[in-house]
Amino acid sequence: MMQVLSALASLKLTLLGMVLLGIGAALSYGNPVETSIWVLVMPLALLAINLAAAILTNPRINRQPGLLVFHVGLLGMVVLAGIGRLTHLDAHLEIGKEQAFSPELLMDVRKGPWHAGALDKVVFTQGGFTVDYAPKLRRGLTHSQVFLPQPDGSMLEIDVGDDRPLVLERYRFYTTHNKGFAPVLTWIPEEGERVSGRVHMPSYPLFEYKQDNHWIPPGTEEDIKFWLQLDTGMTLEDAWVLDGRNSSGVLVVTSGDQRVELKPGEETQLPHGRLRFDYLTTWMGYRVFYDPTIQWLFFVSVAGVFGLGQFFWKKLSLTAWTDDDSPTDNNNGTANKRGSV
């Protein structure tokens, strides 16, 4: 048993594991989603076994508290990162002003097989937003308004944006550059119930030149095309603030060879019903992130570095920095003493 452990604890295996990890990192570069996770998992598993064996058997590591804390920290990080991958959730969300969050709104969801967060307990309602722009359309701070219901029935208004995420049930909602306008429409069919909804136009101002979308009313085959002509005060030369409240739009509706321009409150008759442009509103795009290990990762990594710091401090303060305490050597280019650092 001990022999097996000692073999597994070989420092040469460490070097091999590190080289394999380097190759895995190179393969993962730029494309962590498409690269097989195994190119990282295999070398990390090898290093973890190697390191665990070394911690158990090698007195050079387990008799030196600082070094031990550091290496245990490394092991802890690998384990935590693994748990993180198994339990994480990553997604995007587009949510309209005055719309309440619901888990069905999440898009591009990627999650680990053990993900078990309480997403259904996340409750908030999106408000408006503003985004500051410097000249040449350089995006500055985003202020997105979010309402949280309070136990007394009132709504708490908070401001999130950029590096101030909305954190609910450990889900972190980060505003993104993806945000824009949405006409709120009501469809009044010849027969049946009227429906109201919003059509999200592409991200603004990124797709300022193609604010279009289309919609097929339920029960029909009529493809209605929308084009939104916006007036947001956007300028290239000066700083400006993107704000839904200071923006207006005219909705160009095309169906077949019929084309009409609607202002908010106006409606038009189409072959299968009437379409009303109620008003113009906005939507905000979030990146949703859930990983229950991030605080632990932070804590373990900092503790590890402190261990390393302590180890070095002790080691470095024991011997002078530039005295020769390894008299086996001269400056003729011969080898230094093993591990003489």
């Binding site: 380097g22 990192a25 494309n31 990146r287 003729n332």
Partner: protein, 281 residues
């Protein structure tokens, strides 16, 4: 050409570095073996004084630019090079002062510094703009730790260079005033160990910042991958020395490779991927 306010200060700072470089090189000359000022290390005071003066002038250059454009030197290459010249000079001056054993290697260190120095002279001091993600407080610790990390590597390059140059007769004469290779090697790897501490902290604070800024702490983008390689190579270097006898010149090659990787991470990666550290529409 339009000269902006910080440029004269930058040039003056580089001039001071030039003096430090030349005097450091002068001090190595085999012809000066008997020279009184070299024997009594008086020229080292000039080297130290010139680096400190350069740092002061660069401080003014950075401050003047900061006032002019309204934010610190965090963003474009001109700013990154200028602030690295400042911090590398500052930290190296401290090491030079506290560790007399490494002083002659300043000739190598200052020559390497001129890669940055001549590069910054070729760049337009274009204004940069301040993206939303840069208001984050972690920026300060991330950048600060990275500066210490790179400076420690740079000092290591000086020592690594000495161990390599000492393979030749001429190199042995240039660096005759330095301790044995064994001592230099020990000192160099101590600097590498400290570098690993600062590198690790830089990666941790960078990950926290990335989580805040982009909603993920690690995503193998160009900068992150390159920074990880540097960290891993440092670990490999330290571990190779645990398993094998490493001749001093090979030790020097390892240290220089680590520095080259770090250098590419800092100054090459912004070319590969600009989005990582900039804001989008």
């Amino acid at each position: 050409m339009n000269i902006v306010a910080e440029q004269p200060w930058l040039w003056a700072g580089l001039l001071a570095y030039l003096v430090a470089t030349l005097v450091a090189m002068w001090g190595l000359s085999p012809r000066l073996v008997g020279s009184e000022s070299v024997q009594s290390h008086r020229h080292e005071r000039i080297v130290l004084g010139a680096i400190v003066l350069g740092v002061l002038l660069l401080t003014i250059a950075i401050a003047v630019r900061w006032v002019r454009i309204g934010h610190g030197p965090w963003l474009n290459l001109f700013e990154l090079l200028m602030s690295q010249l400042w911090s590398l000079g500052l930290i190296y001056a401290l090491l030079y002062w506290r560790l007399p054993g490494l002083r002659p290697s300043a000739a190598i260190v200052m020559l390497v510094m001129w890669i940055l120095g001549s590069w910054v002279l070729l760049l337009e001091p274009a204004d940069s703009y301040f993206p939303a993600t840069y208001y984050n407080v972690w920026k300060w610790s991330h950048v600060g730790l990275g500066k210490v990390f790179l400076a420690l590597l740079l000092a290591g390059v000086g020592l690594g260079g000495v161990m390599i140059l000492r393979l030749t007769e001429r190199g042995r004469r240039w660096f005759r005033a330095m301790p044995t290779d064994a001592v230099i090697d020990k000192l160099a790897w101590r600097l590498m160990m400290l570098a690993l501490v600062f590198d690790s902290l830089m990666l941790i604070t960078g990950a926290v910042w990335a989580q805040d800024a982009w909603g993920r702490y690690w995503a193998w983008d160009a900068l992150e991958t390159s920074a990880f390689f540097t960290w891993l190579l440092l670990a490999v270097g330290l571990h190779i020395r645990l398993s094998y006898k490493v001749p001093p010149w090979a030790s020097g090659v390892m240290i220089i490779s680590i520095f080259v990787l770090a250098f590419v991470t800092y100054f090459g990666m912004p070319y590969v991927s600009t989005v990582a550290h900039k804001g989008m529409v």
